[in-house]
Symmetry: C2
Subunit: 208 residues, 2 copies
């Protein structure tokens, strides 16, 4: 905790709760587009239009902020996953396909510029920051569990035949999709995403 900053005269004694959200909003966007290491606290507070003391009122350090940004993204993304997968009336493989197609639409909307915050941070930080690595692993593992449950349901309905276990297949799905998002940033088009969706459904999930 930077006490000097917390007690600086311009710091509001009780900043509004939305200041924290605003810092996380603006900071996450900066981190997603230019990287964590390349995003300074000064840039975050300037973009958020709040005094620097506000940052240290809410976050002990930049790492603390980064981990909070991951948690917040995870919470938001969980609602997205709920919306996509908690739909008992939609056949499980249709839910999965729509989820991937929504991801592809999001990439088009972002002009292939940002990709996945968790993937981006994993690429940048997992090798050198154990605290980030562990948090990111938790988030990814949650997604894998969600995919695995969907694949299990498809298996129970007889829509697919599982050769290995659903967990391994879900890991393959996560890796393949993260890689396709990365490749799409580089090709600047949807071809890698479409290739992944097509082959995943026709080859990986085809009946034995």
């Amino acid at each position: 905790m930077n006490l000097a900053a917390v007690t600086a005269p311009r710091t509001p004694r009780r900043p509004a709760a939305e200041t924290r959200e605003r810092l996380l909003d603006v900071g996450s966007e900066l981190i997603n587009s230019q990287g964590y290491n390349n995003t300074g606290i000064n840039a975050i507070v300037q973009a958020a239009g709040v005094p620097k003391g506000s940052f240290y009122y809410y976050f002990a350090s930049k790492e603390d902020f980064g981990l909070a940004a991951i948690d917040r993204f995870d919470a938001h993304y969980r609602s997205k996953l709920d919306a996509a997968f908690k739909r008992p009336k939609v056949p499980p493989l249709d839910r999965l396909r729509r989820y991937l197609e929504t991801g592809m639409a999001d990439m088009i909307k972002a002009d292939f510029g940002s990709g996945c915050l968790i993937g981006n941070l994993g690429q940048e930080l997992a090798g050198r920051h154990p605290a980030f690595r562990e948090r990111l692993d938790l988030v990814f593992s949650g997604w894998v569990a969600r995919f695995a449950a969907c694949l299990d349901e498809a298996h129970q309905r007889g829509d697919i035949t599982l050769v290995g276990d659903s967990q391994q297949l879900a890991e393959f799905l996560l890796s393949g999709w993260e890689g396709a998002l990365l490749r799409a940033k580089v090709t600047h088009n949807t071809a890698p995403l479409q290739a992944f969706i097509d082959l995943f459904f026709t080859q990986v999930l085809r009946d034995a």
Copy 2:
């Protein structure tokens, strides 16, 4: 070109050719472990133990350096790909499997810390730097062509049945493998790489 730096007194008039290699060696390693944006020219020249003027003797700018680092990695990696794929006596699918297993061994050697320079730079820079995006796309496309040729050969021998074209399958392979490398950095173990290799061979390439 920074002329002031080139004409600075400490700059050797004709630095040895290996100085350029040394700058690229050291700089590529720094970039791969901590990111392009986070690696300053000062850090590169300090780590290389050369005066700053030497940097500007060889490179017009940091971007120029970054693109040269990509080209150099590509050239080195091309020899690795040649060694793996130009082996007419080894069945093509065995070449592919050994290539992926060598990549897995490299990740273990690097303690899951670095991953693929091209993938890392793609994740960090493709969204905002068109010059990098285009160069990285060229490199990835070269790899895809190499994979596609190997898959075509396997198809011609009757080892696999191609459902779509080999190009699409090779794109799927590249995306999946890049994603598995990223995921392995985050899990800090080989499970995602092994899951990718297993399912790619048993599911994606299995005969129709």
